[in-house]
Every structure is written in C-alpha cells, then in structure tokens.
C-alpha cells in the first residue's frame, strides 16, 4: 500500500518518463543507463557535471533527476539548489534522487535541507534503486515553502515527530492543479519564498 493509501500499481510503465542523470564518472553513467533501461526507461540523458545538468534541465523537461554529489564544475548539491530555487527553473518540483558515495549523516541532512527527494548511498543494487524510484512514483510528497526552505516535506508521514514543533504557525495547505502551479492567489507568495532564500545562481547563468 502506498503512503497515499492507494493500492500500489502492479506494473510500472516507465517508457514515457524522461530521466536526467548527472555523474562525473563515465563508468557510473554507463552502469546507471543500463540499469535504468532494464527498469523500462527509454528516454535518458546523461551529463558529466553539475553545470551541464543545470543547462540541460532548462531544455529537457525531466520527470526525474538522479545526481551524484561530488562533481565539478558545480556539484550535486548546487544542482539541487538551482532546480529548487532558481527563478528560471522550469520545474522546481521535479523529484531528485541524490545518488552518492557519501553516506554520513551530516551529508544526508545537508542534502535533505537542499531539497532532495531521496538520498541513496552508493554502491547501488538493482532492487534498492528501483524501490526508491517506485516510492517516488507512488508517493508524491507535498512541498514545503517557507523562508528558509523550499522542497519536499522533510517530515516522514509514517514517523512520529519527537521534540518541539518549531513551526511557528500552522502551515497553509494548498492544492495545486494538474500543471503543478499553485493557485493564482498564492502563486506570488510561493515564488517569493522559493527564490528568496539566496540560492545558487540562476540556471540560465551557468
């Protein structure tokens, strides 16, 4: 059962999905391409650094971004921040998997606070990467827009939250339409919160 309460799909047709993969290691790009093709993806673009990822993202409307962390110029974290908060990001809500050789808690928190949807430590297994992708397909987490953060809700729905609730006010819940655009009355406020946090340079300037 998905977290949404819906029964999970029995089969997944991923042929029409667009996937953008960023990894500076050529071997890893080959591994990921083969693995994703095996899952059923047919439209995959791979790039070798964060700057290329940001440029490509402007024109290739990815349904899913899988990015390494350690790259240059621009690392994976820069990519995440740019996608989430750059004024010219064509889709700040796109699911992003950070797939990295880093596995320490400090980095997981840093990635989460930059707005990744899912953090996956390498080495990968066939089952684990697929499970993460399916989790993203089945469970569309709401997005949080506050002064200090724009990204998927960092609180897991199925975990009890310990400690004080530091949210200063009850959040306003808003339903976005099929085009993912917030209701017009609040769209401006969302944009201010999204882009006002001092994010990385706009995607187009890279």
């Amino acid at each position: 059962m998905a977290a949404s309460g819906k029964k999970m799909l029995e089969k997944y047709n991923l042929q029409s999905f667009k996937v953008l993969v960023a990894d500076d290691d050529q071997n890893m790009r080959s591994i990921l391409r083969s693995t994703l093709e095996a899952y059923g993806f047919t439209d995959i673009v791979t790039v070798s650094n964060g700057a290329q990822a940001c440029k490509e993202f402007l024109i290739y409307r990815a349904d899913l971004v899988i990015t390494d962390w350690l790259m240059s110029p621009l690392n994976g974290l820069d990519v995440v921040r740019a996608i989430r908060t750059a004024p010219d990001s064509p889709d700040p809500y796109v699911p992003i998997i950070m797939l990295t050789g880093y596995s320490d808690l400090a980095r997981i928190i840093e990635a989460r606070d930059a707005g990744v949807t899912s953090f996956l430590a390498k080495p990968i297994t066939a089952g684990l990467l697929f499970a993460r992708i399916i989790e993203i397909v089945e469970n569309r987490r709401p997005f949080v827009a506050i002064e200090a953060f724009f990204g998927p809700d960092r609180r897991r729905r199925d975990a009890r939250f310990k400690g004080d609730d530091r949210r200063h006010s009850a959040p306003q819940y808003l339903d976005c339409g099929a085009d993912q655009v917030p209701p017009p009355a609040i769209a401006g406020e969302v944009e201010n919160l999204r882009t006002g946090g001092g994010a990385a340079a706009a995607l187009g300037a890279l």
Binding site: Y12, A126, I146, Q180
Partner: protein, 160 residues
C-alpha cells in the same frame, strides 16, 4: 508564513499505462544487466587502481606538493568505493571508505599520513588482484589494521 503544497501525482498516472513491468521483472532485468557488466568492471577497476597507485607514488615522491594529488586520489577512491560492492567486491568498498574517511580528517598531511594513504592504496590493489576477498589471516590482519587506523583518526578528531 509556511505553505504546504499538495501536488498532483502525475508520475503515477504516467506509469499506470499498459505494457509495464512488474517490480520483480524490472529488478531481475537490472540484476542481469549488472552481471553483464562484471567483465567490463574488471577492466575499469584494474585501470582505477593503477591510477590510484600512480597518484600515491607521486604524492610520496613530492610530499610538499601533495594537496592537489591527494584530492585526485580521493576522487578516484571515492568513485571506486561507490561501485565495488555492486560488482562483488565489498572489501574494496570498505577499504575505499577507510581511505576517504582518512583523507577527510587528515588536514595538512604529515609524511606519516601519506604513508598511511599508500597503505590503503596497496590494500585496494591486493583486493583487486585477488578478485574479491583475498583468503587467509593476512587479510584479516590487514582489515583489522585499517579499521584501527580509521577509529584512531575518528578519536583524534573527535568524530563519533
């Protein structure tokens, strides 16, 4: 102000089309694809470990100019640790983790630190040459030693 935006799940609609794969089918296909990579991976890892050793030798030959070379060595080891277990070399991932952790906590390296790095590199070369887990007590001693180095570094830098 805090806003919680409920987004439509367009990806689920996209995936819910005829002609899809069951999860177990997709995973099995990917598993086979990764197995098919194993021979290619042997070539990659042999080349990587050669580059690693070359970098380490340059570092030891000129320790005063080591910073950029240590960064290159770190990046090679970082990539290797992220792939090795996928292709049946978990020991290589483990040693790669120790090496990377050591570099992260190293600060300005002393000559002894650079020798310890080279020790890790030789351990990785041994694993690659043996094609996996070298047998025998020598390997066990080697891993015990590397773990002890990592833990000692953690203690000296106050890491958990």
């Amino acid at each position: 102000m805090s806003l919680l935006l409920n987004l439509p799940n367009v990806l689920r609609e996209k995936a819910d089309q005829p002609g899809g794969l069951r999860p177990e089918e997709a995973i099995e296909r990917a598993r086979v694809a990764l197995v098919d990579f194993r021979d290619t991976y042997k070539e990659w890892v042999a080349a990587d470990v050669k580059r690693l050793k070359a970098e380490s030798e340059r570092i030891l030959a000129a320790p005063e100019r080591s910073q950029a070379r240590v960064e290159r060595l770190y990046r090679i080891a970082h990539e290797m640790r992220g792939q090795a277990t996928t292709f049946g070399l978990p020991l290589l991932t483990e040693i790669g983790n120790y090496l990377c952790r050591f570099v992260e906590k190293m600060g300005v390296p002393r000559d002894r630190d650079l020798e310890i790095l080279d020790l890790h590199v030789d351990a990785m070369r041994l694993v690659v040459a043996e094609g996996g887990a070298p047998d025998g007590p020598a390997t066990s001693d080697m891993m015990t030693g590397l773990r002890a180095i990592a833990e000692s570094k953690d203690r000296s830098t106050g890491a958990a």
